[in-house]
Amino acid sequence: MIRFENVTKKLSRKTVLDHIDFEVGAGETFVIVGLSGAGKSVTLKHMSRLMRPDSGSIFVDGEDIVSMNRSDLQRVREKFGVLFQGAALLQWMTVRENVALPLREHTKLSDAEIMKRVDEKLDLLHLEDAGEKFPSDISGGMQKRVGLARAIILNPQIVLYDEPTSGLDPVTSRRIDEVMVDMRERLGITSVVVTHDLHSALAIGSRIMMLHEGRIVENAPPAEFIKSKNATVQSFLESQYITKKGKWEELIYGQV
């Protein structure tokens, strides 16, 4: 569904992505982990062409998006929903208006139909009472869920999550994890998740890729990922108290 071929990107003369190749299959929950500055968010931004690579190709459903014109890019972007790290809600709009925005811009639905769909998504994410509030009046966790509701309002095929659980308490983080797993199981949505949180990665991922200094050091299903012999991966696992003999395997949905 998404394929990176030999992608390289430099920012301020620093190589952020160094000839990386990988593929995300349809229906997968593909998790990208790594230390800060490893190139995770940059990789995610390339998928929706918010950034262009210096060299290499990026394919979405077989179409190279790197040199695509604006109208074709718009068509491809309609396949995506994106949850940004800070939710990126428009501050002057209410929660309901934020979630309704893609419907107002891209469909000719009546106001009543738009509100019905918005309320469905708000219910799905337990935001029934937040509709008339402004983003500044709700918590960070709620803002993330509103961002997610907006990302999925047009029923996209692919959802990109940039640090969906960063800055959230553990309970809210697990709730967001559950929503992501639920969407994959119920709607068959392909997800790409960027996170530092390995607990979350192991719980929701069907495959985990680790980036380090712009290179891929591991790309494997969770059960194999925690047994990786790569020293960087081992160090990353241990930093979050995850060992090969821990109980973490029990958390990996459907992998063990």
Binding site: K45, S48, L50, Q74, R77, E78, F80, V82, F84, Q85, G86, A88, L89, L90, Q91, L101, P102, R104, E105, H106, R150
Partner: protein
């Protein structure tokens, strides 16, 4: 690398960056002009009206005060000189010509660049650093239509109206000084003011205000979109928006005056 070469390299890089920025601003402006046919359509009407309200109505208090005092200062300065020659009855003409040709559009543009333009740059800059603009792009919502176009339309509609308002209040401010301190009757002041002002002066003034509106919207939105580096970057964009708008307004204002009066 020796100093002259490094210096030439830096200068060259700055010129390329400047040309790149001008090109970006022009493309943004052209797209916003293209989308302006949708300004009062169902999707943009509310935002356009909001921006017109912010630009026009919310700016009235400060414009009122500035216009009145500009008119009063003009009347006082010219009136005292004219009084030496016993020609103080002509202060109406002096105030009207200066206000309608130059000070009306110029002062209203400076006020709007400092208040509305800076607010636009800060808002769009904040949206850039908090990824709201990126979110719009991913949602296939063109930021030039969604953000730039309503602000551009609001400014090009409201600026000429504000310039006329500034002219009227400036002339009235001059009348206050003329009647209370220079012993010129209100009727004589107004007769002189209206006699001297030609239609051409009004049209050129309105043209200036219209073009200043385009300049403020373009500079403010462009500086907002160029924002990097968080809160510090937002502050920098806001400051640059005001400084660049002032400079461009001065230069373009001079060029328009030269074009129509020489």
């Amino acid at each position: 690398m020796c100093y002259p070469v490094r210096s030439a390299e830096r200068t060259g890089a700055r010129i390329i960056q400047l040309l790149h920025n001008i090109g970006h601003a022009m493309i943004m402006l052209m797209e916003a002009v293209w989308f302006s046919r949708l300004a009062f359509g169902p999707r943009s009407r509310r935002e356009t009206m909001t921006q017109m309200y912010v630009t026009g109505i919310k700016s009235l208090p400060v414009i009122t005060v500035v216009a009145l005092f500009i008119g009063m200062i003009l009347a006082l300065q010219t009136g005292l000189e004219l009084q030496r020659y016993g020609q103080e009855k002509y202060i109406g003409s002096a105030v009207a010509v200066v206000m309608i040709r130059e000070m009306g559009p110029f002062m209203s543009a400076l006020i709007i660049a400092a208040s509305v333009g800076s607010a636009i740059a800060a808002q769009i800059g904040t949206m850039v650093v908090s990824e709201e603009v990126a979110a719009l792009e991913v949602m296939s919502i063109n930021p030039n239509r969604f953000l730039v176009m309503p602000r551009l339309v609001a400014l090009v509609i409201m600026m000429p109206l504000l310039a006329v308002y500034t002219n009227i209040l400036g002339i009235l401010g001059g009348a206050v000084v003329g009647t209370t301190q220079l012993d010129v009757s209100f009727r004589a002041y107004m007769d002189n003011a209206l006699d001297i002002a030609h239609n051409k002066d009004l049209y050129v003034g309105l043209l200036k205000a219209f073009i200043f509106g385009i300049i403020i919207a373009t500079v403010a939105c462009h500086q907002g979109f160029m924002t990097t580096e968080g809160a510090v970057g937002v502050g920098r964009s806001t400051r640059r928006s005001v400084v660049v708008s002032f400079l461009v307004i001065l230069v373009i204002g001079y060029m328009i005056t030269r074009l129509f009066y020489i």
